[in-house]
Subunit: 363 residues, 4 copies
């Protein structure tokens, strides 16, 4: 099975290498009559772009999306939408020196073993640059969801040992606002301060640090997801585990609930104007794989960036012990920050597919 | 998209309700010339069957698989294999009383909202009984893997706050042996003792308790899984999140690595007889979505069983506050125990699909 | 890819060998709240059953469908529907003698070459017996279509050189009535007479004869089918070419239009009460892969049954020249007759999938 | 389901409108280590390009393919291959006048009904221009097949009532040579002469004419295609019916065999050096959906081009009777000629998928 497509209804197919001419995405299955402009996509791309703070890559990707097909006068026609983003600030020079070294916890070992080749220039297809194409497609998915009243926000949940502590009375809108006031996309200002200190320290050490992202939603209808093998939770899990460096995913109380009793963890029902609903949300918005009408509450874990500035012992493809040293270092030292945009994009694509599956779309 | 099938090459399609006449599975895409008997499948079903200890359901499912097609003289022919398991010990009486009550953290709320109906007798399709069909298909998948040298074992990793502490020098065979010596499928005898005490306590309280399972493998080849959207990790995540009550999944160090530095978490390479390999396995056997040749190391979290013997406040479908009380209680109070068989089955099906995808099968 | 499933929304998965214990089908994706009984399915199976005239197999398949899952009180629940049909009149004795002979224009040559084995008893999976499972699933598809006002009828269009000559003013209902008055499912009584004579002659010669089926519909909505690779015509073509012995398919004027000029073949538009429609139907109900609102008009060709009573020269699996002689001959000598039921089933399944795809279902 | 992709292993996804900025194709699932250059693709595109004779469109599409991803130094890397073809000679002016008229037997009626919009400029997505993207992908598929010894050739089989009469002793190579000596891609020089006269006449009449293409192969291995729903014949039928204006498809003797007896139509076996084979090929290279090792022999019918220069009565979108007159006419008057390249491309893609499915690829 080809492996560069995602989604059964609103299907994205991404292409392009980090240091190739361009990257892009084909969106197939987008409903007709949706207004969408290149500017709207570029706005979303900007949230993923580096350079907002000193802890993300210094690569200057002024990503500009061009829509090559699928719209007529900025309105979708149901034809496939081809979006192209040129690679402008590619600098492959620093990769030549290390092209024969296995990079610890990086893709080049498994790619070389699998295919007998690896596009070392910027990591080729394995580079997180591919996620820009997802964010471009996600911009459209998010727009369609929003027209249906549904919104998602992903924010930094932890960096290293610093967990955020979010006031549970905050509304969706308030969380979103706090997130965008933070250069780290962290809605808890006091945690953010600590995180900034930690990141400075890590940067000084020429190291990187693990982190996590939380995704929440508002206004999700009941009934998304299908029993047994197409649960909403299963498809979200698959989606998030496709993001580079993602090491785990939990829903609602997640691994915390593995330590609880049923009487503690079970959600309570309540009724209001004859309508039954869950007044607690330990299930994170999904029961038996189907959305409950409560907000999604999902945590996605990212390992520390494997590429670090600090020299590392490694082995060359010829089996020799060598030291890997990255010159002209242009990597994020913490992945959750720019990862928020990718989590939102993938979440939006899964939800839109579930809506299309369920014929719930109003456009 | 129909939602009762899983797998692109070795595809299972399960059917049947908990209290219907029978349940079953069609396996489509099994290679020809594999020996398989009903006995071998029944042996695997037994590992999932209740009644081994006082903490799993007292339903007496003496599950007997019948192979109705796809074999000739106990050898597969490449035709679809239809396996049928009759439902013998179904007792729907206790469900009549509660059929109009929403059950906290259970499927019946979302099913009713989605479909306007719910087969209340034993939970219908939403019952974990469906997983018996997965285990039957998994028996065949495991057999084919074993012929290719690959084995999997899933075991209880934690119950409540009791985590196992496994001697890291144990071989795969030793872990497997320890697991099967334990009535809780827990390979750490000292943790098992504590778990037995905890479970007795929980049972006395008419409550249930959360738990987790760990899955490890041996002899997995390098190169399984495909870049971007068909990563081995993504497909495993999807598979495990389809198991009822699964709330999360992590690979390798998982959420622990979210707190680490790159220099701590990155796996080290080594070389032996000219062959490069990972001498640490923080990545849990998968890098960039592709198997590294190291053992899989995956943790799957289960929430506490939502159905408990203790009375619970709830709401009826008519919006009235009522108390839910389960008579003739026949549920597991901890899901990881019987869940091991299901985790192994799903893991085996994902790996076999990856092998078939990669044309690595030797049969 | 597994090859025993068909349909992306209402998906059938068939299983079982001609002389195995049973055959069956799983229907996954059937909407909930459809009434369906075993009797309704059996009625449809009867149309495919042999023995209505002397020219179809003398195998006495009193096919009785059992619904094992997916319904509650004869109403669908959205869970997968498992239908099982036992093989009652299987007689494998006559196959033992010929099991080492390649049968001209039969499946056993290609199956043996591909798999290294062939279930010779009644043709195993390659037998047309598999189509009974399609007809069972088709019964449900036809019922759902009918609730949406849509009906299909397939009838014998030609046998050997005898083509029917249908009065073009006949209504859909009249065609259906004429078809069911004919033991050959041929709605042209005068052609039927000739066909009966021809078939008697062919039977005397211990030979078989080619034939074709026409499929027409009523009340099909505009807009079914999707541009480029999921055209309604493409999916119908695929569906019909999966029927054993099908050698071709044409839509509307089909190959006749290959000889015409555009000015002759182009359909004319007309308008009635402000609604534009095609007043001619050379396109057979489909333009650019999308239904026009006119009736489907599709011709499906069947080669003469390859298995004939007359002795035939052949080669054994050991490479020896031998004579193939079928004892206890129980085959149809003309495939279009019983083929009508299969064509209707496959047509209904394709149309239902297109309706579900397009969210046009009213149930 | 998205509808712009084709193929389960070597999957093409095409995008772009006739008069948009560009069209293109993503090839996902191409094996690594295949040499491919833009020149090779352009060579294939040239076979589809108009302007070789006066009977094909005068649009000057000097199609130049650019490979934007998936190769490194002209060698495939297993990453998705993005090919872009700019639309250079688009002239939409002539479409403005007719944009409110339904065009007889053309896509604009069904598209407007389905989507509420139609990209009238050159037919948008419904234009046969889309097939250039298929030919580009087919160039790669054909190259891989050729490395495996397999070749395909499609040629004009009939135009109007003129059928070719091919010497049955001609080799594959001779047919290919004769085809490419003909400006009509017709390997029978005497039929070609008549065709040229007929086409001149049709052109004078400002009309168009129906036609058919035959596809043959050489060196196809036994065993391609899968039982029941993924027959080689079914997948070829689906593929060819996706080509614009295709009205039917038959295999081997096709509809001719509907008039024959079994004893006449059954293929004869023979044996040579212990190897059994079919010495006749009425089955057209496929039995029971699986390739026999004989050449493919498939006929594909095309209706006459619906767009003709001659004025036609029609109805406007406002329901008024009007006359449709195409100014600046740039259409083919016979579709089989340029259709050969598209038939070869789709045939190659189906065969390559079957090879990949069966793990038979040697590269």
């Amino acid at each position: 099975m080809p492996s560069n497509s995602f989604g059964d209804f609103f299907r994205i197919t991404t292409w392009g290498e980090s240091h190739g001419e361009a990257i892009g995405v084909i969106i197939d299955g987008c409903p007709p009559n949706i207004e969408i402009s290149e500017d709207e996509i570029n706005l979303e791309l900007e949230k993923r772009s580096p350079g907002k703070n000193p802890f993300t890559s210094s690569r200057k990707e002024e990503d500009r999306a061009r829509i090559l097909s699928g719209t007529l006068n900025n309105v979708t026609t149901a034809a496939p939408i081809s979006i192209l983003i040129e690679n402008t600030d590619k600098d492959s020079s620093s990769y030549d020196e290390i092209k024969e070294l296995y990079r610890p916890s990086h893709a080049n070992f498994t790619y070389l073993q699998k295919y007998g080749l690896f596009d070392h220039r910027g990591g080729g297809r394995a580079s997180a640059r591919e996620t820009a194409a997802r964010v471009a497609a996600g911009a459209l998915a998010k727009k369609i969801l929003k027209k249906n009243g549904i919104e998602l926000v992903a924010f930094v949940n932890s960096i290293g040992s610093i967990d955020i502590n979010l006031d549970t009375t905050l509304s969706f809108e308030e969380i979103k606002k706090l997130k965008h006031q933070s250069s780290l996309f962290c809605p808890d200002p006091s945690a953010e301060k600590e995180m900034l200190l930690l990141l400075s320290q890590i940067k000084k050490e020429k190291d990187s640090i693990g982190s996590s992202v939380k995704l929440v939603s508002t206004n999700l209808p009941i009934g998304l997801g299908d029993p047994i093998y197409e649960k909403l939770s299963s498809n979200l899990a698959k989606a998030f585990l496709t993001i580079p460096a993602c090491v785990g995913m939990e829903i609602g109380q997640g691994f915390k609930s593995c330590k609880l009793k049923g009487s503690e963890n079970n959600d309570k029902f309540d009724v209001k104007e004859g309508k039954v609903f869950l007044k607690t949300n330990n299930s994170g918005g999904i029961l038996a794989g189907i959305s409950t009408g409560n907000p999604l509450d999902i945590t996605i874990g990212f390992k520390p960036t494997p590429t670090i500035e600090k020299p590392q012992d490694t082995i060359s493809v010829h089996g020799k012990k060598q030291v890997l040293e990255i010159k002209n270092f242009r990597h994020d030292i913490c992945l959750a920050i720019r990862g928020c945009a990718v989590v939102e994009a993938m979440g939006a694509i899964v939800l839109l597919n579930a809506l299309l599956q369920r014929n719930l779309l109003k456009v």
